[in-house]
Symmetry: C3
Subunit: 257 residues, 3 copies
């Protein structure tokens, strides 16, 4: 029972995710379908890439990730399959998988062959998640080799999540996620921060933060988040609301000695 993990910006209210599950089970009834998130910000490939990077360390070996955050559906971007270690990724070639792949190490890329697989017949042009990617994920879950489904491709699109500016006493990065608790998850590695206190700035809001080991302190907290990144949290409140912070915002920290 291979697991297929969904990662999409489709939400859970429309028929889109149900249709993809139905297509998978029509082709490979034994596949086990799970979800990382269908709540990726719409059209935000970088947000999807970040959620996948967070999740990939925790999903079981041998799994398939069916990732569909695909603002370019119907345009020239390639449909691809990537194998990295024991994991397989199926989706559009737009950088969505790159941060996870980079973490896993060696990888091979295949461009999906729409002709030989016959999938060109299913393709409507507006929903490759259902027409192309779900069938491919199902074929792989039920044992088809990547050579039967596509042909090797040299390069892939990448997204670099780790653009930060780190100097003595100053760090500048980006808000990668704002979670349901209002925690601000940054792209700054925790180990880069070596300070008990810092002046934190997100857009136009500035506040002093204190290093903490968990969410139980007082005021604005600087924490090592669950994936090793610097997180800004407000004890029992929402740091995101406090800083009016959203995904993509720049965030900077000035160490206070």
């Amino acid at each position: 029972m291979t697991s297929i993990y969904l990662l999409t910006d489709f939400g859970n209210d429309d028929y889109y995710v149900g249709a993809m599950k139905g297509v998978i089970r029509s082709i490979c009834p034994s596949a086990n379908i799970l979800t990382i998130s269908n709540g990726v910000r719409k059209f935000n490939v970088k947000h999807g890439a970040f959620l996948l990077w967070q999740a990939i360390k925790w999903i079981e070996e041998g799994s398939i990730v069916l990732g569909v955050v695909d603002p370019g559906v119907g345009t020239a971007r390639d449909p691809i399959i990537i194998r990295a270690n024991s994991f397989t990724f199926v989706g559009p070639d737009n950088g969505l998988f790159w941060p996870a792949i980079e973490e896993l190490g060696d990888y091979e890329v295949y461009k999906i062959d729409l002709i030989s697989t016959g999938l060109y017949k299913r393709r409507t042009g507006t929903f490759d998640g259902r027409d192309v990617f779900a069938p491919i994920a199902a074929y792989i879950a039920c044992g088809k080799s990547l050579d039967e489904l596509g042909f090797p491709k040299r390069s892939i699109e990448i997204i670099d999540l780790w653009k930060v500016d780190i100097k003595e006493g100053y760090l500048r990065g980006e808000v990668m996620n704002v979670d349901r608790f209002g925690n601000i998850v940054t792209n700054i590695k925790w180990d880069a921060l070596r300070a008990e206190r810092a002046r934190i700035k997100v857009k136009n809001v500035i506040a002093q933060g204190y290093m903490a080991k968990n969410y139980s302190g007082k005021g604005v907290l600087m924490l090592k988040g669950s994936t090793g990144l610097l997180e800004i949290s407000l004890a029992r409140g929402s740091a995101a609301n406090y800083f009016e912070a959203d995904i993509g915002d720049p965030i900077s920290l000035e160490v206070i000695k």
Copy 2:
């Protein structure tokens, strides 16, 4: 492992869906429970019927659809089972299943026998999804025949999704869904539109739309959506916000030559 697909207006936050899953697994542990959507607009049977019509073409043969959009729970509407082709539908007799059934062709309807099944003992009157429909779906998934669960019924309630007014150069229909991307999904078949440009009106907002093959164009787009219907889309924006459109609104198009 028969699949039971849920379609409800219960949302995912309350205990309702969890209780239905528990009831199913108590009766038929081998059933595979999946979800089309629990995000049907509350009490909106037509919206549920439309989502099901969209999904039914994609879910695997032999599946059971457990549909609970049931504003009339506790009143006189019948609890029913419908078999159409290899699919089985379980839920209230209020038209929810009709558009999907109509698409599938021949069908048989059974009224659930609350007495002989003993389900009258479970019934609280406010949650037939848990007390009646989930058990019936589970019994069917584990092999009971429809004759054991109910008796033939002649007629069912129908909902006609396809009321449109189409003349030379003019089309008028209804907004059937507004998806997470802000796409306006109409009940007008794509093939009915034969124009490169049209003046689109939703309630009081009017704008010119251009035919497009995917979501990558500019301005207001007229597209063939993933289920063959006319969709109105705003490139990288929300057509629903732009037109202040919501489910049930009338939409008209005047062809520009």
Copy 3:
């Protein structure tokens, strides 16, 4: 195939739930993962406890409940396992499981042994759901005994959901949930209300309610909800909006003769 039912305040948009599922399947691939709700109000242990109390009567025997509503993560509260009848509960010792346990009768409590299980090595301090509770639930699903995972503990934290004030002609309780339909679910047992009419007060809004058997009546309805509690409903509308009611609000009823 033991079922593991999730109950969290993580929402479905972040990577948290996906990571927990991945950890479970890495340890116990045969576990069947289901969800009661990931929509518990954030940090609201009482709300989680109430949803679990509602659900527990309906999930199949032998199931494991993985409950993570854990504002005290990283602090001194114990990680625990509770066995009650055939059910097993895994999560923080903060009262989350108490109302369900109390309903089930006899129970045994174990404190998870982080040393002997080796889980102290995984622990980051900000995500015990992934680092401690998911692995424990998976070990139990795949057959480990509680003695291998922890040691008996005498007492547990409790949450009393049933604090009500009931006099002749007067009832006072608390809003336990506001569901997607705007129904106000109270902690007052239905049988305590013996009146056709009552003056209902939630915070500062007062209205007259009428006893009803289902949601199809007119005006403000007093109903026996699906778990035997008094529910206030507004026919085809939202009682919660009408009364501006939210979880935790006091609610009182004065019987009208």
